[in-house]
């Protein structure tokens, strides 16, 4: 009987050791370096509050690895469409030291404050940023959109 208790004790000891090792492994595992989830809202006030900008894929869906057209819609605070805006686009992946894989451009004005942005391509999954510098008669402003794939 004594040996049974010895084996049980040994078993418990081993189990406790296993739990301890697992705890150490999990607690010391490198933390994911992801920051707080970026703001992925598709409609935003521009940085100085000059415009309300919306950014959305023209066909409604985002497909990784494909050249796509997106629409940037610019309205004033009062809701009037912003016409004749000059738009410069930059961006990249903040976690990967690189910019965009393409150079998207505003290629067309579709009316009602809507600008077609062609040549958008997301080659990887992850956190992308698109930065717009907008210049119109009302003034110049910037806005940043996050896209997470």
């Amino acid at each position: 009987m004594a040996s049974l208790w010895r084996y049980l004790l040994a078993g418990l000891g081993l189990a406790a050791l296993l739990v301890g090792i697992l705890a150490v492994v999990y607690l010391t595992a490198p933390r994911s370096s992801q920051p707080a989830v970026p703001d992925v809202s598709r409609t935003k006030n521009t940085d100085n509050g000059l415009f309300v900008a919306s950014f959305s894929p023209e066909r409604g869906v985002v497909r990784q690895g494909e050249l796509e057209s997106w629409l940037l819609t610019l309205k004033t605070k009062a809701g009037a469409p912003v016409e004749g805006a000059a738009i410069a686009i930059s961006g990249g992946m903040p976690q990967h030291n690189h910019g965009l894989p393409t150079s998207p451009q505003a290629t067309d004005y579709l009316g009602d404050g809507r600008y077609r942005i062609e040549g958008v391509k997301f080659t990887m999954s992850g956190w992308w940023q698109l930065h717009f510098a907008i210049s119109a008669t009302a003034g110049s402003d910037t806005v940043l959109f996050n896209v997470v794939l």
Partner: protein, 399 residues
Amino acid sequence: MRHFPRVLTLMVAVILAGCGEPDFSDTEKKTIASLALSALPSLKPDTTNRFADVPAAAALGSTLFFDQGMSRDGTVSCSTCHKIDRQFQDDLPQAVGVGHTNRRTMPLAGVARDPWFFWDGRRDSLWAQALTPLENPLEQAGNRAAYAHYIKARFGERYERIFGPLPDFAGMPLNASPLGNDAEKAAWNAMSGAQRDAINGVYANIGKAIAAFERSIEPAPTRFDRFALDLVTGAEPKGDAAFSKEEILGLKLFIGKANCVTCHDGPRFTDNSFHNTGVPPVADLPPDRGRIDAVAQVEADPFNCLGAFRDGDASACGELRFMVKDAPQLIRAYKTPSLRGAATRPPYMHAGQFSSLDEVVAHYAKAAPSVEGTSEIHPLELSDRERAALVAFLKTLAE
């Protein structure tokens, strides 16, 4: 009582075996499914090459691909470096044609799906790519006038059945090219615009025929694909579709901690983009700055998508129109290669810098800075066991 040690051993064994079960999270399963060959969409038509899916064009292209007559001295064909029984590559650190080049031959499986060609993307279509080695003095070393004459003499009838009448070559030089030696350049410059267009037209069609053939070269299913299919459908992996614990660990690292899947994504394991990953230059080769120097080359190529030899409309030219032209990220950036079949085709990288997958994994773990520009990769803590597991997983893409 004597059984207790055995029972205890069994219990511990069961617990440990449980740790090795293919236990993937839903996110991991989704990623694995996105890498499987079954996720590869069907090949899109190439509207810039209206002969891309014409069988007779592919047949002529196949003939030309293997024809050593398609070179200056009759000793080199596309297949000299793109060997049919070696995944259409040559196992050499740098390709050897008429001369010794400075880049590794790329394999061709799935090549028709690439938006950019060569390690640096200096061509923007498969047919424009096929023309480039033909005139490179280190590769096939010919000139476009000579190729046009050769096509007429050797394959005139086949050519005309596909592409229509050949131009009248009367009065045209036998050797001429804007990229040739001084005599060939002089001969090219002495030609009329109509004559140059005629030669360029035949030359472009040579590329279109070869591209039509190359569209048939597609990746084949591997052990990984069988494993992925079973994982996604919930079937019990049988036979070689079952992964060892080491292979499962490698796969988990590949799509997790090791971040490989960031660039090696999708069913071809490539994002079709260009990255500086700090791969060191080769000492005796000419300076090589990768993508940054390819931008001007593809823009200047008369056979690019915006040039006169494209079929279809310019809506197919988005990659060229919206290409990044001048950014620090292009310095020493090279194309992400597909990893399918990579395990059985060392050496690795754009100039064959690494002779084994162990060296490749060690390079990515160390993440040494680039000699020029900025490497996008970050150092990674990987144990010896984890490195071996990554290599074991990569082998499942070549079995």
